[in-house]
């Protein structure tokens, strides 16, 4: 049996979870740069991606400090392999189409905004400060993704079908956001972060309001894919994403500009 986590190890894992979520989603969203259906959305998505990657620098920067091995945010982002990532499976699934991209964004933004609201009251001042700074960006992300989900869901028959298909596909990835383990228990005990399960009620109210307005049907299933945030098992998609994201540092170690 593995030795119990020290508080510092638990905090490091928690910070990786926050930073890996924003890093991997930021990279996914950045894949639209130059390819979005209209110029306005292209710029909006690029802004969102940049926000998320900026947030990653704060989370992984702090993770590196807590780890105490002299690693920077860049080291953690570009030099870990797939089994060391702690992001939700939701954020690594491929973009597929614009509808799925925006639905994924909405499902994540809703959780993210609630989570940051709690983290602003964290007993760890560094975490509270990052949450306060990033929550303004995330409030806007949520407004935009919710509006787009409503616009497309309650749009044409075709756009409605795209959004319902996206919701049906992504729904099994929602449950993982609310699973708890020893890392979460340690964070709750230290007053650093809330128990993930405790966010579910607020989350359900929020997404039900938006998805109802979008005339979409929430699938009647509690099945949840798991393994991303614990690192037990990622989807086959994360490795492919990393080959793109980490290519330069792998091919030219230490390259900088």
């Amino acid at each position: 049996m593995a030795a119990p986590l020290t508080d510092n190890e638990a905090l490091f894992q928690f910070l990786l979870r926050m930073g890996d979520n924003t890093l991997i989603l930021g990279h996914r969203v950045s894949e639209w740069c130059g390819h979005a259906p209209v110029l306005e959305e292209d710029i909006a998505l690029a802004n969102t991606a940049l926000d998320l990657i900026g947030q990653t620098q704060m989370w992984l920067g702090l993770a590196g400090e807590v780890q105490g091995e002299g690693k920077s945010a860049d080291d953690l982002a570009f030099l870990r392999d797939v089994w060391d990532f702690r992001n939700l499976l939701l954020v690594e699934v491929p973009n597929e189409d614009f509808g799925r991209t925006l639905m994924r964004q909405f499902l994540f933004d809703a959780w993210h905004s609630i989570q940051l609201g709690h983290l602003m009251k964290s007993s760890d001042d560094r975490i509270a400060a990052i949450a306060a700074k990033t929550s303004k960006e995330v409030t806007y992300h949520l407004e935009r993704s919710a509006d787009t989900v409503v616009g497309l869901g309650d749009g044409t028959a075709q756009s409605h079908d795209f959004m319902q298909t996206a919701l049906d596909y992504l729904w099994p990835y929602v449950g993982e956001m609310f699973t708890s383990d020893a890392v979460d228990a340690a964070m709750v005990k230290a007053g650093v972060a809330p128990d993930p399960a405790s966010l579910r009620a607020d989350y359900d109210v929020l997404i039900k309001r938006v998805l109802t307005e979008a005339t979409l049907t929430i699938p009647d299933s509690d099945f949840a894919h798991k393994g991303g945030r614990t690192g037990a098992m990622h989807t086959e998609h994360l490795g492919h994403l990393l080959t793109h994201m980490q290519w330069l540092q792998r091919a030219y170690p230490g390259a900088s500009w």
Binding site: L39, E40, I43, A44, N47, E143, D147
Partner: protein
């Protein structure tokens, strides 16, 4: 094109300016999304503190062919510029 989003004209009030200034145009399905798109397209380098959007087809414009009757009469009326007054120094810059 029937499926094209309408065009919106975007006006931004800058950090130090007093009035909204036309900065360009963009497409959006409705006014709310036009404001969001304007935020993303035109204020990403901290250019503004307020956004106005107007659907382009609601703007009435003067016709270029009316240029003569509209603007030429004022060309010869220099006395309309308040440049013939002696401004006391105490007034400062105007």
């Amino acid at each position: 094109m029937k499926n094209e989003w309408p065009l919106w004209e975007i006006f931004i009030r800058g950090q130090h300016g007093m009035s909204h200034r036309h900065v360009g145009s963009l497409h959006a399905p409705d006014a709310e999304m036009a404001i969001k798109n304007a935020r993303d397209v035109y204020t990403r380098r901290n250019e503004g503190v307020s956004i106005w959007v107007v659907e382009a087809n609601h703007i009435a414009a003067s016709s270029p062919s009316d240029k003569g009757p509209l603007y030429e009469p004022s060309e010869s009326k220099v006395y309309r510029h308040p440049t013939f007054f002696d401004i006391p120094d105490e007034v400062g810059a105007m």
